[in-house]
């Protein structure tokens, strides 16, 4: 036990060592978290009225980010599959980083849910037996189960591997292989369940499509690798941890294919709704073309579409996919494009027009953005700490092995 405590302390200790840039980064993140605390106090006292949400658009920026970051979390599985199913040894070294990203992303997603609900002091009502847990009927109940399970899996598996490495031993693959397989399927399930939260609503024709869960998975597999490519390059830049270029190449390939499928699915949605517009196509009409003079989201969705198309072109051309500059551009464009398309454009459009045909638009307030800033920062903060500690232990193990 004392070894485990030593492991924890030694794992956290590297977070307190770093250059001035590192400390600037950490202080910046803490400052953002302070901004969140400040704005959240207002929200706690006054209620969600400080946001731009209304009865008409009752989910906004917070839930948009929630949906997006659950996707990022799910994409960590993309490192596990090549490493352990396709036996690519080069990926073994980055599996832990991917799972660290998953933990950070799940925490961000949970953070956004927590700031979104009206009575966070009552979350204990969702605990089975203590509260009343509407499982299996409520999809949100499923979401609570799968997200917490995923968090546990992604903490337990790396912790086991790292602890073994810390002790100088090689972990026995038979001990954790089943959990890895479970984590793979579980990753798909968290994002499918999140998609079902939306697609189960028969009241919202924009969401009530069988294509929503596939679109979620595919866009997660686009935005996730995009983020990972950039993060791995940063790790390569700021640490001595070796990141093989073959990893980046494969991730770029996954990104390309996923983006192609994502655009295909988006195109399929557009065709189905626009070929012969029914009343149910009102929301997508509003999104792309505006409705009755209201068109706040059109610029966003067309930008997102443009970003996605530019990204996929850059990715499909071999030269630009292998050139790191253009690849990074493509990653950034893809990330932003997916964030808009899956985050704001999906969530807000589902509410416009309302089931009674009213158009009431939404834009996040400054305070809403303030509350969100620190949650992003929390994710980055957790990821930095986990990576710092994990890499230290791994490097130590590699050298001593």
């Amino acid at each position: 036990m004392s070894t485990f405590l030593h492991f924890l302390v030694d794992g956290l200790r590297p977070s307190l060592r770093g250059g001035w840039l590192y400390w600037l980064w950490m202080l910046f993140l803490l400052a953002l978290m302070g901004v969140t605390a400040w704005n959240y106090t207002d929200q706690w006292n006054q209620g969600l009225v400080i946001t731009g949400m209304s009865d008409q658009v009752s989910w906004g920026f917070y839930i948009a980010n929630f949906a997006f970051f659950v996707g990022i979390a799910a994409a960590a599985v993309l490192l596990i599959i090549p490493a352990y199913i396709f036996h690519r040894q080069d990926f073994r070294s980055v599996v832990l980083i991917g799972e660290g990203l998953a933990v950070a992303a799940v925490l961000v997603a949970m953070g956004f849910v927590l700031v979104d609900i009206g009575r966070p002091d009552r979350v204990w009502h969702a605990i089975p037996l203590l509260g009343r847990f509407n499982w299996p009927a409520s999809i949100l109940a499923w979401d609570i189960v799968v997200l917490n399970g995923y968090l546990l899996l992604n903490i337990a598996i790396p912790m086991y591997i790292l602890f073994k490495h810390y002790q100088g031993k090689e972990p026995d693959i038979r001990h954790y292989f089943l959990f890895l397989v479970l984590a793979m399927f579980w990753a798909i399930s968290i994002h499918t369940v999140t998609a079902f939260v939306f697609s189960s609503a028969v009241s919202r024709p924009f969401w009530h499509t069988a294509l929503l869960a596939p679109r979620f998975i595919v866009s997660a597999f686009t935005a996730g690798p995009a983020l990972m490519i950039i993060v791995l390059q940063l790790i390569r830049r700021f640490t001595v941890y070796p990141i093989r270029q073959s990893i980046i190449t494969m991730l770029a390939l996954i990104l390309t294919i996923s983006m192609q499928i994502n655009l295909f699915l988006a195109g399929s949605e557009m065709f189905t709704d626009f070929y012969h517009e029914t009343e149910h196509a009102a929301s997508i009409h509003y999104l792309f073309l505006g409705l009755h003079g209201f068109s706040a989201l059109t610029i966003w969705i067309w930008t997102a579409l443009a970003f996605n198309i530019i990204a996929v072109i850059l990715l499909m051309i071999h030269k630009t996919r292998t050139n790191m500059v253009t690849l990074n551009i493509a990653c950034v464009l893809a990330f932003i494009g997916i964030w808009i398309e899956k985050g704001m454009a999906l969530v807000v459009t589902g509410f416009i027009p309302t089931p009674l045909g009213e158009i009431f638009e939404y834009s996040p307030t400054l305070q809403e953005l303030g509350v969100s800033a620190g949650i992003y920062a929390l994710g980055a903060f957790v990821f930095t700490i986990l990576t710092k500690g994990g890499i230290a232990i791994e490097l130590d193990y590699k050298i001593s092995a």
Binding site: T3, D55, Q56, R119, G168, L356
Partner: protein, 329 residues
């Protein structure tokens, strides 16, 4: 430390500087902790004053640990009702009565609205706001009256904000919408904590002290019937309706969802809901679907009726009817 340990590499902490490092570590932590404590106390002050709404510590604790409506014992319910009354006294300076009205056995409510008669006055809306202690500031209204063009049933063409000099306007018809107390309610399935359910008399009720405010039910409702308290509801003390019940119109708090409950505080005692009582044209009819001699049964059996969005399978217990009779063979 494990005895397999190799010499410590340079990027790890060396043992000579461990103590110094440890001291520095604790210094840093101390500073952070001190700042943190001051911040927490300061924030705690700010939070505690507002979050408890000026409540006593005992009431706040009681509120926090309060069980779900269907699980509360009689004693717990008595305590909860007393807490609600005390809170209203503190907040509004008004003595209210809060009861726990149970459904009348053998009742199953249905509602019919005569669209030939509705003239768009919105008297129902105003009466509902007054009867159910709806927040004037948080601006929740359970009923929304839609103005549609003659012959058009497309809700997208409706006007919610009509305000002509006089109603009804030529060439328009009016459609009031509120919670339809569906028999197959999507909101009940959606709620992760079972804060909303269909009670024995068919009313879909909400336990306001259990709702966590996730608004999943609002996304799931096809009729836009559920509303959220984005802020603490403000009701002028002289307009507060003091006859309240737990599941119905007692003063609610911010952060919870609420909706039409067929005025359970009235209907479970045999009185008409406020909207039905206020409607000058008698367009609204609430009744017991299980009573074959009731008004509502006659309407459903003899009038041309329809429900909104039938294709969604929600089975609403709210029918619209016209003056025309159904063809009898």
């Amino acid at each position: 430390m494990s005895k397999n340990r190799k010499p410590v590499p340079s990027y790890r902490e060396d043992t000579e500087n461990t103590d110094l490092a440890r001291r520095n570590f604790f210094k840093k932590m101390g500073l952070v902790a001190a700042t943190g404590t001051v911040a927490t106390i300061g924030a705690g002050k700010v939070i505690s004053k507002q979050a408890w709404g000026g409540a006593t510590f005992e009431d706040a604790l009681g509120d926090f640990f309060q069980d779900h409506y269907v699980r509360m014992t009689d004693d717990e319910m008595v305590d909860a009702l007393a807490r609600i009354e005390r809170k209203a006294r503190r907040k509004f300076g008004v003595e209210i009565i809060c009861e726990d009205t149970r459904p009348i056995p053998g009742t199953y409510f249905g509602y019919a609205l005569n669209i030939s008669k509705c003239r768009g006055y919105r008297d129902c809306v105003t009466a509902c706001v007054k009867e159910n202690n709806l927040g004037r500031d948080s601006q929740v209204q359970y009923i929304r009256v839609l103005e549609l063009n003659e012959g058009d049933r497309n809700l997208e063409h409706s006007d919610h904000y009509y305000n002509p000099e006089t109603v009804p306007t030529e060439g328009k018809w009016y459609l009031p919408v509120q919670c339809f107390q569906c028999d197959n309610p999507p909101c009940v399935t959606a709620c992760p904590v079972e804060a909303t359910w269909m009670d024995d008399d068919g009313i879909v009720v909400i336990d306001y002290n259990w709702c966590i405010g996730c608004r999943m039910c609002m996304a799931a409702c096809p009729y836009w019937a559920r509303h959220f308290n984005w802020t603490e509801p403000q009701i002028p003390a002289q307009e507060l309706n003091p006859n309240t019940d737990y599941i119905g119109n007692r003063p609610r708090m911010k952060g919870v969802v609420e909706k039409c409950h067929f005025c359970s505080q009235r209907t479970r005692k045999g009185r008409q809901p406020a909207c039905m009582e206020a409607c000058p044209t008698g367009a609204r009819v609430l009744g017991n679907l299980l009573d074959p001699s009731s008004d509502i049964r006659y309407i459903l059996e003899n009038k041309k009726i329809f429900r909104l969005k039938e294709e969604l399978g929600t089975e609403p217990k709210f029918w619209y009817y016209t003056d025309e009779a159904r063809a009898r063979s």
